[in-house]
Amino acid sequence: MKSSVITFPGSNCDRDMDVALKKFGFKNKMVWHADTELPKSDLVVLPGGFSYGDYLRCGSIASKSKIMQSVINFANSGGMVMGICNGFQILVETGLVPGVLLRNKYLEFICKNVFVKISDKRNKYFKNVNNEVLEFHIAHNEGNYFCTNDQLKEIEDNNQIAINYCDENGKIEDQFNPNGSIKNIAGIFNREKNVLGMMPHPERMIDTSLSGEDGSMFFKNLINNLK
């Protein structure tokens, strides 16, 4: 399976993602934002970080970079595109997934492990994941998911919510919402579910020496689903 990770000026999780993808069997290539051609890929990842210093709005400048037109075309033709954290912010700015990510409700940069409940498994990202609840890491200042009421209705009607913040037992309540996101939303799909944007970082949970291994489960499963 071939993957590509796009590096923007200010990306800082691109190499972590490279390590994670390779560890679980992807042949990964790093792609520079100013390139125009996307290498042949089964998965494209927009990594976390602070592309363009979060100028204007997080992800807004990166969403207009040269490589993004190829990424958008790839996604629109059914290609798998995953945006993590800043990558999620870039995805919403391209319009590939609905909504926006606002400043966290309590104006804090949040850096901690959280639990997320998988809301929908009828997609290549979460199909066959045994667990209902995963422990992932979040580190963001703008992860407060917001969309209009019309968009929310559409997202819910099409089962586009991927994961919600919850407690370790999968209970989705306000008190387990770290950043003020509508409905505790931590990740969403596009309508066709080939594009996934999520705030949590699975690539930070791939080794016992890190703070957990639920990311390993995610990536092992992902590559199997793509085969």
């Binding site: 204007l56 807004s60 207009k64 909504g99 926006v100 606002l102 917001f146 969309c147």
Partner: protein
């Protein structure tokens, strides 16, 4: 020609920064403030000399980049 643009958050969108500014003003003794909403100001200096054409171009910029219309409104100010 310089064209000013003001971007504001839509009415129903939470503005935590505006809220903190409000609380701070309140603590400083400005007790009669109802609400503070924070926005952005841009000044686009364009080569275009026709006022209507310039404004139309800036409107396109607002829609494509300067504002995110899910959460923000833009207002183009008439250049002097």
């Amino acid at each position: 020609m310089k064209i000013p643009v003001i971007i504001t958050l839509k009415k129903d969108v939470l503005d935590p920064q505006g809220k903190v500014i409000h609380q701070t003003l309140d603590g400083m003794g400005f007790k009669d403030v109802n609400e503070v909403r924070q926005g952005k100001y841009f000044e686009i200096d364009t080569k275009e000399t026709d006022r209507d054409k310039a404004k139309a171009k800036v409107e396109e910029m607002c829609k494509k980049l300067l504002a995110n219309l899910v959460i923000e409104n833009y207002k183009i100010i008439d250049p002097k």
